[in-house]
C-alpha cells in the first residue's frame, strides 16, 4: 500500500477515488513513566518517554488508516496527513487521514 502526502503519484494514474480514510488513537504512558518524564523536563533535553508515546500513537493511527483503505480495496492513500490534538494530559491523540484511491500504472 502506497501512502503519500502528494495528491498524485508519479508513474501511476488515479482512476477511482474511494473517499476519505482515517485512523485515530489516543495513547498514554503509565504513571511511573510520567513521573520519570517530570524529572527529565526539569533537567531539559529530549524526553524519550513522550517521544515513544507519540511514536506509538503515530504508528497505530497510520496502521488503522491503512487497514481502512485496504478494506475499501484501495491501492494507495494520497494527500496523507497527521493531525494531533489534546484530549487528556500526558496522552497523545493522533489522527492519520488521506484519500483512498485505485491506481493504474503508466506503461
Amino acid at each position: 500500500m502506497i501512502v503519500a502526502t502528494t495528491d498524485s503519484l508519479p508513474g501511476h494514474e488515479i482512476y477511482e477515488c474511494l473517499g476519505l480514510v482515517h485512523g485515530t488513537t489516543v495513547r498514554a504512558r503509565n504513571l511511573l513513566r510520567d513521573v520519570g518524564a517530570v524529572f527529565r523536563t526539569i533537567a531539559g533535553g529530549e524526553v524519550p518517554e513522550y517521544t515513544k508515546l507519540v511514536a506509538e500513537a503515530r504508528e497505530q493511527a497510520l496502521d488503522r488508516m491503512v487497514a481502512e483503505a485496504k478494506a475499501l480495496g484501495a491501492d494507495a492513500v494520497v494527500g496523507f496527513r497527521f493531525a494531533t490534538s489534546e484530549v487528556a494530559k500526558a496522552a497523545a491523540e493522533i489522527v492519520a487521514y488521506g484519500t483512498a484511491v485505485k491506481l493504474r500504472s503508466h506503461g
Binding site: N30, L32, P48, A57, D63, A67
Partner: protein, 156 residues
Amino acid sequence: MGADMHAPRGSEAEPTADQLLAMAYADGELDAAARHSFESRLAGDTALAREVAKHRAFAVLARRSAAPEPADYEWRRLAADPLQRGTLGVGWVALSVGVLGLLGLYLWRFLVDDSVEWVERALVLSATVGGLALLAAAVRARLRTLPLDPYRNVER
C-alpha cells in the same frame, strides 16, 4: 561431529500452518473469505491473536529504518552504568515508599479520627476502595492486552 548439529534450531524451524496464516493476515494478503474465517478463529484463540500481534510488531519495527543517533549509544551506556542504575533504584524506592506511606498514614489517621463524622469517614473509605478497584481493573486490562499491542516496542 554428530548429525544432530545440523538439525534446525527453534528459530530455524519451519513455521506452522497457523503461523503462516497469521503472517499472511498481518500482511493483508488473505482474500475476503479467508480473512473472515481467520477473524472468527481469532476471536476465540488468544495464542493466534498473539501470533498476529507479533508479526504486526515486526512490520511496525521494519518500517523504521533510520540509523541510530549518536546519543543512543550514550543512553545505552547510561542504562548499564551501575551508578546511574543505583541512583535510579534508590530514587524510585524512596519516592514510592514516601508517597505511598504518607497516603496510607493520612488515610488511616482520617479513618480512626473520632472528631470526624462516621458518614464522612465511610464516604472517604468508599472512594478509596472504589479508586483502588478501578485502578486494579485498569492494570489488569493493560496486562491482558499488552502482549497483543504491536506498538509497545516503537521508540521514536
